[in-house]
Amino acid sequence: MSPATTMATSPRPGADQDVASAGAMQPLLDARGVVKRYGKFTALNGVDLRVMPGTVHSVIGPNGAGKTTLFHTLTGTVPVSAGRIVFNGQDITREPDNVRVRRGIARSFQVTSLFGNLSVRENLRLAVQGAHPSGAFDMWHAPGRRAGIDALVDTILERLGLHARGAEAAGALSHGQQRRLEVGMALAARPRAIFLDEPTSGMGVDDLDGMKALIRGLATDHTVLLIEHNMNIVMDISDTITVMQQGRVLVEGAPAAIRDDPRVRAAYLGNMITGGQR
């Protein structure tokens, strides 16, 4: 079950090396026995997830498997009913989402969630500043005194391919561009780990390759936890895949092993496929 044992077939260049060294490392994120109940309904029923540093770790599963709920408990948007979440050696189980940002966790949203009336640059500036929120209580000076923030925003705009559109309102961007900015917002905090919740949701075919390249690029200097429906992307860029079903982990392993696993085929790929090969 350990990712280190199954990584030989990893398709991502250099991933073997990451994982060989990761084998000796502590996981960056270690969630144990995560339970989330909504009244009588149990959305997560004791999920264990260990994400090794420097890897792309995808979570897949049929609709209703609990992927997004797991995502929310890990990013601190919803509190857990039971279980323990350790990130980078710190117990963050009881910490709210804004505090987890300072620990080095950044996230994107499944439904695009930007500051629509503010410019693209301002969206990214706010995200960069958010990692140092005490500075945001400066009631006297306008932003822009710290050259470092501007330079970082420029770098991210370049990486997102949105440099020419920095002055436009985020709400005026195309859907594909908004999805890229959504990822950029997570990147801006210079986090240790980036959590992406269905980054390609609603994207046109033309935009998919750009997004795939962007996520693959993130993995060079971040740990990525990815929830994604698009099997093409998941199989291509993941080091480890965790398959969930009915609030539990069904199986975990490298892409090739997951593709060939009869349990996964039965539970997910065979019939209840959502998204699927595009």
């Binding site: 804004n98 500051f115 009336n117 929120p133 009631m139 905090a189």
Partner: protein
């Protein structure tokens, strides 16, 4: 030129402050415009910059009136000390109400501010020893302004008092201009736009909302204090729900998210009320029609209309909305 554009709101406010004495006969009426403009600035900070609809502004206004009244009549404090302490009390009460209210959003936030407004009204009504109850706190003096013990400026006539209020107003306007364009102010806009996203990128949005609530309370209490000194009385109506409503109406008519719009809204309301009430006692009906018009057709209020006319006049009508709203003065 950029400096001129960045400070255009302040320059427009200065122009209005200088024009009012030329256009109006009554110094008290001119003072009333600036006093309510201060209260509207406080409300705009919440509604326009943070997206919080507070029905509790009357509480801060009334608290400012009572505080300055009690400090001047009972404690015999010098003018500036009494005004400054009233501001601190306003900020304190706002922080207390805000501490509860910001725990909820939307309808429940509004209901909490309404509940506090009612509570403070009945508190004032039930403590006639402090507030004068139904009759209000009477005989509030307007002591001369002492400038560091070097000189004493009398504020006895309406126009002298106007000059004092004008300086206080412009100073407050400038301070709020700094606050709204600061890193803090820009973060408030982010909270207004999308609070969940603001939290997700790392901001403790409750703390920001609490801070802006306290600032709003301080500015509104200052308005209430000046109002009490202007009329010589702190009436029960200053802490009534109707005052909250009036401040909100002025804010919406003027336009939200722009500081000069607050002065525009207050001036329009106070001057229209003064003019129309002599013509027709049921003039508030007309105000209702105007509010319907603003709600249906002019979401940016009078400021938006003025902006549209200016763009039309200068031939700079551009399609689409501006990229960064807060910079679109």
């Amino acid at each position: 030129m950029p400096a001129l554009r960045d400070n255009s709101g302040l320059l427009l406010a200065l122009a209005v402050v200088l024009l009012l004495p030329l256009l109006l006969q009554s110094g008290t009426l001119a003072t009333e415009v600036l006093v309510y403009a201060l209260a509207v600035l406080g409300c705009n900070l919440l509604l326009g910059y943070t997206g919080l609809l507070s029905f509790g502004q009357g509480v801060f206004f009334g608290m400012g009136s009572y505080a300055v009244g009690i400090l001047l009549t009972r404690a015999g404090m010098p003018l500036m000390a009494a005004v400054l302490l009233s501001i601190v009390i306003g900020a304190g009460v706002a922080a207390l109400i805000g501490w509860f209210a910001i725990r909820q959003r939307g309808t429940y936030f509004v209901m909490l501010t309404l509940a506090f407004a009612q509570m403070f009204y009945f508190l004032a009504y039930s403590l006639p020893g402090w507030t004068g109850g139904d009759n209000g706190l009477l005989g509030i003096p307007r002591p001369p302004l002492s400038l560091g013990g070097l000189a004493s400026v009398p504020l006895d006539t309406p126009w002298r008092f106007y000059s004092f209020v004008a300086v206080v107003f412009l100073l407050t306007f400038w301070l709020l201009h700094r606050v709204t364009t600061s890193v803090f102010g820009r973060t408030l806009l982010a909270i207004r736009e999308n609070e969940a996203r603001a939290r997700a990128v790392g901001y403790d949005t409750r703390l920001f909302k609490l801070a802006v609530f306290a600032i709003s309370g301080a500015v509104t209490a200052l308005a209430g204090a000046l109002h009490a000194m202007m009329t010589g009385i702190a009436p029960l109506s200053n802490i009534e729900y109707h005052t909250s409503e009036m401040i909100l109406v002025m804010t919406v008519i003027g336009g939200t998210g722009n500081l000069f719009a607050s002065l525009l809204g207050a001036a329009f309301y106070v001057l229209a009320a003064d003019w129309l009430s002599t013509l027709w006692p049921r003039w508030l009906l007309l105000l209702g029609l105007l509010l319907i018009g603003v709600s249906l057709f002019m979401h940016k209020g009078l400021w938006g209309v003025g902006q549209g006319l200016w763009q039309w006049a200068t031939g700079r009508v551009r399609a689409g909305r501006p990229a960064v709203r807060e910079q679109s003065l």
